[in-house]
Amino acid sequence: MAEYYDELLKLCGFADDEIEKERPRIEKTFRKLELGPEDMKTAEKWVRQNHDVELMGVRKLLWIWLKELIDLVLAKDEGKRLLYYGFPTIAGPASVVAAASEDVYCVCPDAVLCYTMGQIFNKLTPILEAGEENGLPAGHGLCSLLQIRVGGMVKGIIPVPDMVITSSYNCDMGSKADELLHQRYGHPAVYVDGSMDSRWGEFPNYLPQRADYLGGQLEKVFDKAKEILGVEVTAEARSEGATRNRELTGALRQLLELMKEADPQPISIVDVEVARRLTSGSAGRRIATDGPNIIAALNQEIKDRMDRGIGVVEKGAPRVIICMAHFSDPSTTHMMEDCGLSIPATLHALFAARIFKTTPFISGEILAKEQLERGPFHGSCGEITRAAEAVQEFNADGVIWNYSFNCRPIALTSHLLKQFVEKETGIPVLSLEFDWYDSRSYSAAALRTKVETFAEMLRARKASAKV
């Protein structure tokens, strides 16, 4: 018999028989999340407004995130051991541990909550508020993604993990939030450290000792996985982890290549980012097995739209590169496209889709070298230089540097990126203060005037260039 949530799940790519089969798990999950019939109505409207559900690829992307949500919420009840990691992430170690054991579920829980409770249910605020009330108060520039992690755990939505990988190679906040949670729940943490001590102008070069240090720290995860979780990380698991990452990255790269070629822009950057986040939001087995196929199917649909000249913004619209799309509130990102801007890529999607020559297996050393080459974990110069390269690669007319105010590694580039990219490329940059995870203060309405003005300026600039 149909239930109040069936329509939403079908909209999100669930098949009828799958709903029937999964009903007990779905209902248990929704009870824990306090999601009732009214929430389903809100979600249906929200999904239709913000996601391109004409495309089966997009619906399956929502499907895979919902399945991750169910797995996450029920993990402990179903006897899984849980390994959490956090953002900004180097995804490799979790992929390897996931490949090494089917009993361990490896996931970034805050990302899963963003892509489901935010992107699908538009019901993230109570979780954010719980985070604010339990150690990460508003008004202090604290990371809202971590407020979601704290809020989710305090509310009992996400289980206490058996082990957490917490990093300090880029962000100072993640490990502090994990320590706050450790004080409360006592779960063990593995600290993966690094140092971003390169000088301006040093990129892409780096001291070999930096890679050695970061690589050695990443390798610690495997020792700790054995010690704490009893998971033996074999050579096969290292190889399997690399294969999983490579397949996802390859599919994403193809998606971004299509976005680069297309005019008009065939799908919203919102849905591109929903796909992109599969590379880092969870290392669940399903992500590895189904993720590349879903993105490949989406790519086929995009090609079809390109052949038919269908777009979500006007052909010839000014092209802008943005830093990242909103994790949880798609309306904030859509607002930029509604202002008449084409967004073929986010800078951080390009980082994620960077293909390296050979990654036959995962080791700390390989991951460290890849990350330093990518840019953002090298330092501000790496991040900003890659932004200037992306402008050239995508023939962009502008950049909206929507830095998250509460993400220090990015916020510290608030002015530097604009200075550098405008100087090096001659392309205008809007430095836009943003919050990637929480849109209560940085809503689409609050930001629209600035973006509209920038869009108008880009259109005028483009028009004058034609004269």
Binding site: D172, Q209, Y213
Partner: protein, 379 residues
């Protein structure tokens, strides 16, 4: 105290002395004052180390707004203001600015000044966790620094020179430690204001002059009697206590409280450990400055520092803790949420958290909060 006057007089002419030294070919090496730069290396290379410890000035924080968003630690934004404006003459005189890279806030200082000024910057990484990999990385960083200093000054840092510098710096630390420990007695023989002035002075003064001053202060304190009465004893801790940022010291004193011990990441020179001057001296520096240093809040895990705070609270027999953090230093803000529970559990003491953006408008509310806290613990 006579010695304090001597220090004050020395600092008044310090810039002039540095200018003359520079004209005479000496190099001036500035550094961010988080306690991770071994001054011994600078001294052994023949250069003069200067800790850029000034803060407390809101106009510099505002000025930094043209170069970076506001969500960076107040002290670090002030350093950007001083660096780009030239308002702090010490920034103008340095030949090299060394930035031991601790967290993203110190990285912000390095990146913005590197891009926007002609100041020559040398960063080296301070790992955030203690293990052999981290120790080796720190050791590699200070070894690179040694090479850079030798290149800058043209002077080889030999073992005898380094040993001599270590002895001098050890003496400075020992004296600061001895003077600080005298405050275990009740009443404390030296005010926090004076102790902090000595500590801040040590970032700027000629090292030998500073040691002489500290010797004199120590002798004077031993000889003179203790003050007659004392208010509630306070442990003051936090992210940064800069030269020029005295409002919490002032307000606590005015409210009748007595700060008897300070623990800060920046602005207060770490003096609890000395370098063991034997064996490989570079390793000895890394051992003291990194492995045995009680780390700040941005370290992982945090327990070493929190245990140390509890120990200080017990050893110095305080009645309460004032946690003074600067805006947007997220590691301190987060710890300020759960440390009161640890403190209460281990000592039964209360804690007051106060926060600053160096804005003069903060003084009124701060006064009310500190007065209330002191009044509460006095009862």
């Amino acid at each position: 105290m006579e010695a304090m006057h001597k220090l004050s007089a020395h600092l008044k002419t310090r810039l002039l002395d540095l200018s003359k030294a520079k004209e005479g070919g000496r190099k001036i090496v500035g550094y961010t004052p988080g306690g991770y730069l071994p001054e011994e290396l600078v001294l052994a290379s023949g250069a003069i180390p200067i800790g850029l410890v000034r803060g407390g000035d809101h106009s510099m924080v505002e000025l930094a707004g043209a170069y970076i968003c506001r969500w960076i630690d107040t002290f670090c934004r002030a350093q950007i203001g001083y660096g780009v404006s030239g308002e702090d003459p010490y920034y103008n005189i340095v030949d090299l600015l060394v930035v031991p890279m601790t967290d993203n806030h110190s990285r912000a200082v390095m990146d913005v000044l590197d891009y926007n000024t002609d100041i020559e910057i040398f960063p080296f990484g301070v790992p955030h966790t203690k293990d052999n990999l981290a120790l080796n990385y720190y050791l590699h960083g200070i070894t690179r620094l040694k090479t850079r200093l030798e290149h800058l000054t043209g002077v080889e840092v030999t073992a005898p020179k380094l040993s001599e510098a270590i002895n001098l710096c050890n003496r400075e630390r020992e004296l600061l430690r001895e003077i600080s420990l005298m405050r275990k007695s009740q009443p404390a023989p030296i005010s926090s204001r004076d102790f902090v002035a000595l500590n801040h002075g040590s970032f700027l003064a000629d090292k030998q002059v500073m040691v002489d001053v500290l010797e004199s202060v120590y002798k004077e304190l031993k000889e003179r009697g203790l003050p007659s009465d004392e208010g509630p004893r306070i442990l003051l801790t936090g992210s940064t206590l800069a030269l020029g940022d005295s409002k919490v010291l002032d307000l606590t004193e005015e409210a009748g409280g007595v700060i008897v011990i300070e623990e800060f990441a920046e602005g207060i020179r770490p003096y609890w450990e000395s370098v063991k001057p034997d064996g490989d001296l570079m390793k000895a520096l890394a051992d003291c400055y990194f492995m045995r240093r009680v780390p700040p809040a941005w370290f992982r895990p945090d327990i070493e520092r929190l245990d140390f705070l509890v120990k200080l609270a017990k050893d110095f027999n305080v009645s309460g803790v004032i946690w003074y953090q600067l805006m947007y230093r997220e590691s301190y803000k987060t710890e300020s949420y759960y440390f009161p529970d640890i403190l209460e559990r281990e000592t039964g003491l209360p804690m007051l958290t106060v926060e600053s953006d160096y804005d003069p408008a903060e003084v009124g509310p701060l006064r009310t909060r500190i007065e209330t806290f002191i009044e509460t613990i006095r009862r």
